[in-house]
Symmetry: C2
Subunit: 346 residues, 2 copies
C-alpha cells in the first residue's frame, strides 16, 4: 500500500500542549481529526495558506492564533508576531497581502496600556509589511481565562501569477535555500520567560518576509517550486513535510545551516536541537538547480538576507525522508518534532 | 460642533468584561483605542464585514472570536456559533460566502471527544450554510488558560452586485424589518449555565441567515439600505448604531417586536430587557417604504422567517436616537447596552 493512502487516526484521549507544537502530534491531530471532518481540497492541501480561485485571480487565505508567552520579548511582541506571522504565510504562498483581520481575546484585568502597546505594535508592523488591518473583533474573558491576550489574524492575499508552488513539482537535484540563521525566535522567547538561568545577547527574528520572497520571485520565479517559513517545529519539521509531500529524499548539509553562537550555546546547554527551534523571519525555498545561484544571489542582495545559504538538496531517496549529512560523509535521519520542548512560542 | 466629529478617547485603565459586551464600552474601546491606531477606510466603516474592491468584484471580509460558556447549550454549541456567526456577518453584508477559516485555541486536558464533537458541529453547520472551511490553525495553552476551547473564524464572501448597503442612504420613512422573535440565544445560554434557578422550554436561534437574506435581496434589492444581525448588545445596540450612522431618528414599535413568552418571562424575573439580549439567527433590515411589503412577504414566505415583522421606521428625528414608541403614544429613549448583564454569550 502506498504510504500516502494510509489513514491517520487520532486516538489520544485528551488534548495536550504537544498537539500545538507543530510536530508529529499536531500533524496527527490535523490529519486524524480535523481533515476527515472538514474535508475539502483547499484545506487538504495543508499549505501555509489555502488557495481560492476567483476568475483569473488566485486568492491565498491563511489564519493563525497567537498565544506567545510572555507577550513581549527582545526584538518583538505578540502584536508584531500576529501581523508578520500571517503576512509571512501569505508571502511563502507567493501572495501579496490584500488585507488582514485581527481578533482579540482579552483577559479581564488587562492593563489598557498593555493592549494599547500591542495595537501600536500591530499598526507599525502592518505599515512595514504594507498591509491594512481591515476588520476586527474583541471578546473579553474572565481574569485567569487567558494570559493577557490571545490574537488571531487572518490574511488574504493575491498570488503572483508568475508563482506556481507545488511540492509535487519538486525534483531530485533541486536545491534548498535558507534565508538566514535559525533558532533566534524560539530561544529568545524561552529565555525571556526567565524559567532557565541563562542570558544571551539575542533578539527574535520576527519580521516580514515579503522583501525576501519578492527577491526570490524576481530572480527565479520559473524555478521556484516550494516555500515555507519554518515556525513551530523548526526547519526539521518543515523539511519533513516537504519530503513527505514531494515523495523524494531531502538531504540537509548540516555545516551549511547558519546558527548564531548564542543559539548554538543555549541549545547545547538546554539539550535542544536548533533544527527544531521556531523561527519567525526565515524562509526555506526549493529551487530548480539552474535557478539556484540566481536565487541565492538575490536573497543575499536583499537587506536581511545577507546570511542566506544553500543548505540542502533534493535526492532520489530515501523516499519521504529528511537526512542530515556532514562533509565527512556521516548521515542521520531527522524526524519531525516529537514532544514539545518549547510550548507557547508563537 | 457636529457630533460625528467628536473624538472618542479610551480612558479606562483596565479591560473588563463589559468591554466585550457589544454595547457602549465596546464601542468606546474600538473607537477610542483600536481605530485611531489602525486607521483605514475599510476598518473605519465598522460594518459587520469590511469591503475590499477587487477589480469589478467586491469582497466582504469579517472575523469573530467565539468564547461562549458553556460550550454546548440547547439548540447549539460553540462550533455552530463559530460558523453561523461569521456566515451571518457576511450575509448581512450582502455577501455569499467563498470560504471560512477556523483557528482554535485549545486548553490542555480538553477531552478529544469534546473537540471532535465541535469539529463535527462545524462541519455540519458549514455544509448547511454552503461554505467550506479552507484553512485552519491550532494552538494549545496550559490547563486553566482557556475554557476548553476558543474558536476564531474569518469569512470571505463575494458581495451580490445588486446590493448597495449604506447607512447614509437611509431616509426618513424607511421601514425596519425583523426576521423573528428576539432574545432566544442569550436567555438559552444564560439558563444553560445553571447560575440562575430557572428552567424554560427554549433553544438558541443559531442558524444561517443566508436564506432569509437571499429572500430579501430577491424581493427588494433596490430598496434594501442596511442590514445587521443583532448579536451581542441585541436589537437595541444594533439600532442605536443605525441611528448614529444614518443621522436620523429610529422609532421602534414596542408591541410589534416578537418575543416568546419564555424569553419575556425570564427577562422579567432576571431584570433584563429583551431588546438588549443577544440573537444568533435574526436579521434587522431597513427597506425603502415602497419595497417594504414585498420584503416582509418574502421573509415570511421563507422557512424560518414566518415570524418576521415590521418593527419600526426611520423618522426625521430626534437625530441619532432610538426611541421606543407604544400604540398609546408613549415613548422612551432606548440607549445602547451599558454594562454587561450576560457575559460570554458568543
Amino acid at each position: 500500500m502506498d504510504a500516502t493512502t494510509l489513514t491517520v487516526r487520532f486516538k489520544d484521549s485528551r488534548i495536550e500542549l504537544v498537539h500545538g507544537a507543530g510536530g508529529k502530534a499536531t500533524r496527527r491531530l490535523i490529519e486524524g481529526l480535523f481533515l476527515p471532518l472538514l474535508a475539502n481540497p483547499a484545506l487538504a492541501a495543508l499549505g501555509d495558506a489555502a488557495l481560492v480561485e476567483m476568475g483569473e485571480a488566485r486568492l491565498a487565505v491563511t489564519t493563525d492564533a497567537f498565544v506567545v508567552r510572555p507577550l513581549r520579548f527582545p526584538g518583538g511582541s505578540i502584536g508584531e508576531l500576529a501581523v508578520y506571522g500571517t503576512v509571512n504565510d501569505l508571502a511563502v504562498s507567493g501572495a501579496r497581502p490584500l488585507g488582514l483581520t485581527a481578533s482579540f481575546i482579552l483577559e479581564a484585568g488587562l492593563p489598557a496600556e498593555t493592549l494599547q502597546a500591542e495595537v501600536e505594535a500591530m499598526s507599525r508592523a502592518a505599515q512595514r509589511a504594507g498591509v491594512a488591518i481591515i476588520a476586527g473583533d474583541t471578546k473579553v474573558v474572565e481574569h485567569g481565562k487567558a494570559d493577557g491576550m490571545y490574537i488571531t489574524t487572518t490574511g488574504i492575499g493575491l498570488v503572483d501569477p508568475r508563482v506556481r508552488l507545488d511540492a509535487r513539482a519538486v525534483r531530485p537535484g533541486d536545491r534548498v535555500l535558507l534565508s538566514g540563521p535559525i533558532g533566534d525566535h524560539g530561544i529568545t522567547v524561552l529565555l525571556a520567560r526567565g524559567d532557565v538561568n541563562l542570558d544571551a545577547d539575542l533578539v527574535s527574528d520576527t519580521r516580514p518576509l515579503t522583501p525576501l520572497v519578492a527577491a526570490l520571485v524576481e530572480a527565479a520565479a520559473p524555478g521556484l517550486r516550494w516555500m515555507r517559513d519554518p515556525t513551530r517545529g523548526g526547519v526539521a519539521s518543515a523539511l519533513n513535510e516537504l519530503a513527505r509531500d514531494c515523495g523524494h529524499g531531502v538531504a540537509l548539509l548540516e555545516e551549511a545551516i547558519p546558527v548564531r553562537d548564542a543559539v548554538r550555546g543555549a541549545c547545547e546547554l538546554l539539550g535542544l536541537d536548533p533544527l527544531y527551534v521556531a523561527n519567525e523571519g526565515q524562509v526555506l525555498a526549493v529551487i530548480a538547480p539552474e535557478h539556484a545561484d540566481a536565487a541565492l544571489g538575490a536573497l543575499r542582495a536583499t537587506p536581511g538576507g545577507e546570511g542566506a545559504a544553500m543548505v540542502g538538496e533534493v535526492r532520489e531517496g530515501p523516499a519521504r525522508t529528511l537526512v542530515a549529512v556532514t562533509v565527512y560523509g556521516g548521515s542521520r535521519v531527522v524526524d519531525m518534532l516529537v514532544g514539545d520542548p518549547l510550548p507557547r512560542i508563537c
